[in-house]
């Protein structure tokens, strides 16, 4: 829950990077051995990439993978413990938990990726616009983003989702509304750093218009750190989306969604703990896979950290 409310990724990564001299020494000493054990960045990238691809494919083909209809009720068989017929048991209406977890991946993973794609695109465009033009529009938009950054994110998202009403779409809109400023900040600072470089001046001298300069020259050169941030954000967003659903502000029953399934299973914790366990484990595993993938991509993108 603590992690659920922490919305400051810089804080986390800064702490991770701040080594003491002793720790750096240890890192260097063990660097080689770590590589020998197969923990090199490339290996990790392949492993987590495959795991993430596996999750993604699972969510795409979830309709074909489910052993039972996830919405099919069987009250005679309600709250059944895991068995050969129902590997993860059944919930209070006798629906097969394995089927519901697989079907839920569509709502959870797909919505998360959509959300991250949307905030990355919107935030980047706003940030580039601000950094490129400067002046009043920049000042106004950046103060707005300051306001968004000043609020505790999930609380604000709850307020927005509450105003918009429940539903997965509104939850995505609410999270997008509060999450774009981080991307706008990164894109703006990158744009400011690149704006006066000679290659952009050269592109202007080659007769390229502003749109061409921004999309063909500037964006490819600043997109790296932004993409890394969005990869790191997938796990966080997945958790926040599940959190909103858990609070009843996201996916509505009977749609299978991990957050709302956990919420549904709260009262069954003592009598049928497997009902809460399976969506919880699904959230835990996919957030972990996407977080580790994000970490690995960050390491891979930064050549200085490739040795560790």
């Amino acid at each position: 829950m603590n992690q659920l409310f922490s919305r400051n990724p810089e804080k986390g990564s800064a702490q991770k990077k701040r080594y003491t001299i002793d720790q750096m020494h240890v890192c260097r000493m063990h660097g080689g051995r770590k590589g020998d054990r197969g923990g090199s960045v490339k290996t990790r990238l392949i492993i987590f990439g495959l795991l993430a691809a596996f999750l993604l494919l699972g969510s795409v083909f979830s309709a074909h993978l489910v052993p039972y209809d996830p919405d099919l009720q069987d009250l005679a068989n309600a709250k059944a413990a895991p068995s050969a017929a129902h590997l993860l048991g059944t919930d209070r209406y006798g629906r097969d938990m394995l089927s519901r977890v697989i079907a839920g991946s569509r709502a959870s993973i797909f919505s998360t990726l959509l959300l991250v794609a949307v905030i990355t695109a919107i935030g980047t465009l706003i940030g580039v616009f601000c950094g490129w033009n400067g002046k009043r529009a920049d000042a106004v938009l950046m103060r707005i983003s300051d306001i968004f950054l000043a609020f505790p994110g999930l609380v604000f998202a709850m307020a927005v989702a509450g105003v918009l009403g429940g539903g997965l779409h509104n939850a995505i809109v609410a999270l997008a509304a509060i999450s774009w400023p981080k991307y706008a900040r990164i894109a703006r600072s990158q744009t400011l750093a690149q704006r006066e470089t000679a290659y952009l001046k050269a592109a202007k001298l080659a007769g390229s218009g502003t749109a061409k300069i921004i999309f063909k020259h500037l964006l490819p050169n600043i997109i790296g750190p932004i993409l890394v941030t969005s990869m790191l954000d997938i796990g966080t967003m997945m958790m926040e989306l599940a959190g909103l659903s858990f609070l009843g502000l996201g996916a509505k029953p009977p749609t299978a969604e991990w957050g709302s399934m956990m919420s549904d299973a709260r009262s069954l914790m003592t009598t049928a703990p497997w009902v809460a366990f399976s969506p919880g484990a699904a959230i835990f595993l996919s957030v972990m896979v996407f977080n580790l993938l994000g970490d690995t991509i960050r390491d891979y993108a930064d050549p200085r950290s490739r040795d560790f």
Binding site: A198, Y199, A202, A206, G207
Partner: protein, 254 residues
Amino acid sequence: MGPVLEVRDLTKIYRRRGQSTVTAVDGVSFSLQPGECLGIIGESGSGKSTLVNMITRLTDADSGQIILKGREITRLRGRGLRSVYAEMQMVFQQPADSFDPRRTLGDGIGESLRNSGWSAAAAREESGKLLVQCGLPADFAGRYPHEVSGGQCQRAAIARALAIRPSILLCDEATSALDVTIQQEILDLLGTLRRQMGEEFSILFICHDIALVQQFCDRVLVMYQGKIVEEGIPDTVICSPSHPYTRRLIDSIL
């Protein structure tokens, strides 16, 4: 035939909020004749780069006029400004920084051609020819800026500047970041290009090294604190400097 480029009373003042103002370029006027190589010399901070940036319209002038082949370009924007760059090109000080690190040299050389309606294939072929003209193998078009040396990159930058067949080439300290032997090679290349193109091609050569200017330029302007303090044929300026700064500059070398 009139001057190919004329600058009248050009001024740029940098204002810092609540602080003193800095007059980077202060009422500079000069003209560049067809086929001429005009050197501008001055210490760092004398306003040379600001002057060049104003002429290429990368910085807006506060007052004054820039006249390119009889057409005033001081306030042009958008399409009108883009047409100016068919007449005027620039070679930057740091060759490697002047190419997009994510695109090949050939892509950068062909960009102006593609923007003026050439097909991608024709532009690719032409950039190979231009590289050969500038003393590099044509297959350098497929290399990235970090894969070539500074001198090679500057040759590619010259090839890029020549692609659109401009009448004016501005070299803003184009040889300063290179070591002496490479400097000489680049100067030889520019000299060869001048001989090939004759009256059609003028160079504005910004430099802080008076020896290079003496060797390469027909005429020299000396800039000091944003003003042009001396003008003349390099040999004359060097032998009988009239302004104290010019005298100091020459003394510092001898």
